[in-house]
């Protein structure tokens, strides 16, 4: 087995069984439907048009490519959407380096060549994004190949293993054929995905958001820069946008829809499930820069007669964001706020303990509190969550510390 670079193969002369040069390598194709890494065929430019050469008929692949068949037996090349052409689709293009969590540009592609019986199996191993690939391509044809190889050995490689590469493809139909699902990307932390997405062109952002799981998309959207966020949502079709917005925290969803133009946010709201729509519409009615505009309506509240066990049950069935879990609120008649128990207290108390006995003094604010005052409350009382209470003393929602940090950072 040995490694050969894509740039070494491109332009290499191709000899047929008789040893005569019949053409030059134009491109290399991978058919992800059949095998994710294997080279399906070489595209060869001959005097008689483009022909294809599967590795099963190759006896060597390097500066010269040798085939074990006559050139008359080589099939004609018919372009297909379902194959990945390494030069056209990969070389010099941007890809997502899932391991390094960033967008990088491909300088070269490393291919391993394994002799099997009397032919070759070629596999894509890694993409080269460092100086080695760059210098190889700069000096190709100018420096004798053995000198070049010796020189390149001295350069530490910067490669990304093929399994950590997510390709960018903006055409949805082709994405399906090439089996591009952004699985690697979707496993990253939403904040990292957001960072990557911000470095992409708008069409590529749209491609990512159309493809990845709605829940991941929603969390990623929350992390995006406000301008990018809006342009992404505007680029998606209404259905898809509504599906993603439903998965967002209601406060974040309301913020986002508030920033869109009215027609657009109405259309998205129309596509949403009734329950989520109601929550978001309520929040939309509050001023964006008040406590109510910053609060979420997904929190844990249990009756003031409940015991620790009930609180744990409520925790288990809670579907909102993790930040909202820090405090369990106790409500009395007509949903009036009567107490608050920190999660830590619940964890260290016996299952049968009355929550009302564990309750601590709590801080709350009215819905129209300006956001600066909200931040001041968090600072003064070292809060993790803050309850928002309406004029009748009813719990309307809660604000979590992460929202306050975001708010403070975006104020400038």
């Amino acid at each position: 087995m040995y490694l050969v670079a894509l740039s070494e193969l491109l332009g290499a002369s191709v000899r047929d069984a008789s040893g005569t040069v019949r053409g030059r390598v134009r491109d290399l194709a991978v058919a992800p439907q059949d095998h994710p890494t294997r080279i399906a065929y070489l595209v060869v430019q001959t005097a008689d048009g483009e022909r294809i050469l599967p590795p099963e008929v190759l006896t060597s692949a390097g500066a010269t490519v040798r085939a074990s068949t006559e050139s008359s037996a080589w099939d004609r090349h018919t372009p297909s959407d379902g194959v990945l052409l390494l030069k056209r689709d990969l070389l010099d293009q941007q890809i997502i380096d899932v391991h390094g969590r960033k967008v990088v540009r491909v300088n070269d592609v490393e291919i391993e060549s394994i002799p099997v019986n009397s032919h070759l199996v070629l596999n894509v191993v890694a993409v080269d994004v460092g100086a080695r690939g760059a210098i190889r391509r700069l000096s190709k044809g100018l420096v004798p190949s053995f000198t070049l190889r010796a020189l390149l050995e001295r350069i530490p490689p910067r490669v990304i293993p093929w399994r950590y590469v997510d390709l960018l493809e903006t055409d949805p139909a082709r994405r399906v054929k090439l089996k591009i699902a952004y699985e690697g990307l979707a496993r990253l932390h939403p904040a990292d995905i957001a960072n990557i997405v911000e470095n992409l062109a708008p069409a590529e952002r749209e491609a990512v958001f159309e493809t990845i799981d709605e829940e991941v998309a929603a969390e990623t959207l929350e992390e995006l820069d406000p301008d990018v966020k809006i342009s992404v949502v505007e680029s998606l079709d209404r259905d898809r946008a509504a599906d993603i917005v439903e998965e967002m925290d209601p406060d974040a969803a309301a913020d986002l829809l508030g920033d869109l133009n009215e027609d657009h946010s109405d259309q998205i709201l129309k596509e949403m499930e009734p329950e989520e729509r109601r929550e978001v519409t309520q929040l939309l009615e509050f001023g964006e820069h008040t406590a109510a505009g910053r609060m979420t309506t997904e929190y844990i509240a249990v009756p003031d007669t409940a015991v620790v066990d009930d609180a744990i049950e409520a925790l288990k069935s809670f579907e909102g964001s993790r930040e909202a879990l820090a405090t369990i609120y106790l409500t009395g008649k007509a949903h009036t706020l009567v107490g608050a128990v920190p999660l830590v207290t619940i964890a260290i108390s016996s299952p049968a303990a009355q929550l009302s006995d564990l309750s601590e003094p709590f801080v709350s604010c009215p819905p129209d509190t300006p956001q600066d005052e909200v931040a001041a409350l968090f600072d003064k009382y070292n809060l993790i969550t803050l309850a928002v209470v309406d004029e009748h003393g009813r719990l309307a929602g809660i604000i979590t510390a992460d929202d306050v940090i975001t708010m403070l950072r975006h104020r400038h």
Binding site: D92, V104, R137, P202
Partner: protein, 416 residues
């Protein structure tokens, strides 16, 4: 009401996208540009004014392509060149871009120095201070805040229009000179043609295309907003051409009519204006030069660093830390430090630095323009926004004229 509202909406739309086109066109009137315009007015009076109309058209046509590409693809010019034409082409193009832009940076700092030297401030104070301001402005600012500063700097070019008014030109002669054909006798004169080439040659520079396209992308302008964004480009180019026109007119009305044709650069022009057009015109000319030079010095290094890093695949962006994007920050810093540093070396032959930069500029330009043409005609890339056939004719003519005049300037430069 409906009418009023629709206009308000339209104005709001224009305001939202104004910036990149306006800024780019105005930076084009940098230290070198102002020097050429001053010389043109001083030596040939109103007889070169006609050239401003074709120059404005060429500027609009080329800038429009860059802006459209940015809006449609969401990618920078060096990204697209890399993706379509490969690594080797991009590498040499970027190398050349660095060389020519370095020369431009030197020229801008020279402009900063000479404008303030008119007021008796030593260049050993001004140049380091200007370099520090430029470095900090870009590294510490955000895109929005910098854009506001740059737009304000663009507005400052009104200095030259006011100076033109103060010079009391012969308006009739100026207008006639603008709309009539060039005088037949002048066209046969070598120095007239040389000056014409200089005028055109400074109009379209490679860096502008990279900068404009990148800032369209950075501002998040998409294909849908592009129709509005085009006005940004057109208005910017027209304003820039108007400013250039006034510089020529101011110098024609004063220096040309009194025979003061021996000026060498823009600060000479300001000084020569003093006894002829008065203290205010002199101050405005000097302030305008300072503004233009500092403005261009702020834009060139950062735009170069972005273009090079994006094309060659290095990490780039001011949102990154120094250790995350070392090539980007080093390139940016070195362009400023070395560009300003050259001016502090006593007896440095600045003329030669500029000449080399001009020559490389002339060599790079044809490649950049042809790449832009190929890219804007690529249907896979541009979709329905490809150049129309009629537009292609206009663009090709512009490109061929631009390229031949620029190459002519290079040859003339080499012979000097």
């Amino acid at each position: 009401m409906g009418f009023l509202k629709s206009w308000r909406v339209r104005i709001a739309l224009v305001v939202a996208v104004v910036g990149p086109g306006f800024i780019t066109a105005n930076v084009d009137n940098d230290a070198g540009g102002i020097a050429i315009y001053s010389l043109a007015g001083a030596q040939f009076g109103y007889s070169l004014l006609w050239a401003m109309i074709p120059i404005a058209i060429a500027l609009v046509v080329v800038q429009e392509m860059a802006a459209r590409m940015g809006a449609v693809t969401g990618k920078g010019l060096s990204d697209l060149i890399r993706e379509e034409f490969g690594f080797r082409v991009t590498f040499f193009l970027m190398l050349a871009l660095v060389i020519t832009n370095f020369g431009n940076v030197v020229a801008e700092f020279a402009g900063v120095a000479s404008s303030l030297e008119l007021f008796g401030v030593s260049r050993y104070i001004i140049v380091p201070a200007a370099a520090a301001i430029v470095w900090l402005l870009v590294v510490k600012g955000t895109y929005e805040s910098i854009e506001k500063i740059f737009l304000t700097a663009s507005a400052f070019y009104i200095c030259y229009i006011v100076a033109g008014l103060l010079a009391h030109p012969d308006w009739k002669a100026a207008v006639v000179g603008t709309v009539s054909r060039p005088p037949a006798t002048a066209v046969r004169s070598y120095s007239y043609v040389f000056m014409l080439i200089g005028l055109v040659g400074t109009t379209i520079a490679p860096w502008m295309q990279f900068y404009l396209q990148a800032s369209i992308v950075e501002k998040g302008i998409t294909a849908r907003q592009y129709r509005t964004s085009r006005w940004d480009v057109i208005l910017g180019c027209l304003f820039a051409a108007l400013v250039a026109w006034f510089i020529i007119v101011a110098c024609a009305a004063t220096l040309y009519t009194t025979g003061r044709t021996d000026i060498k650069d823009a600060s000479d022009a300001a000084q020569a204006l003093r006894p002829l057009a008065g203290e205010y015109a002199y101050l405005l000319f000097a302030a305008g030069l300072f503004n233009a030079s500092l403005f261009a010095a702020s834009i060139l290094p950062i735009s170069t660093a972005y273009a090079v890093c994006e094309g060659l695949g290095f990490e780039s962006g001011l949102d990154k830390q120094f250790h995350e994007a070392p090539v980007f920050y080093w390139l940016y810093t070195l362009l400023i430090v070395l560009g300003a540093g050259v001016l502090l070396i006593p007896r440095m032959p600045l003329i030669h630095v500029m000449a080399v930069s001009q020559v490389v500029n002339g060599i790079v330009l044809p490649f950049v323009l042809v790449f832009m043409l190929l890219l804007t005609n690529d249907r896979e890339l541009m979709g329905k926004h490809v150049n129309s056939r009629a537009y292609n004719v206009v663009v090709w003519v512009t490109v061929v004229v631009m390229v031949s005049l620029t190459l002519a300037m290079v040859i003339a430069q080499l012979r000097m």
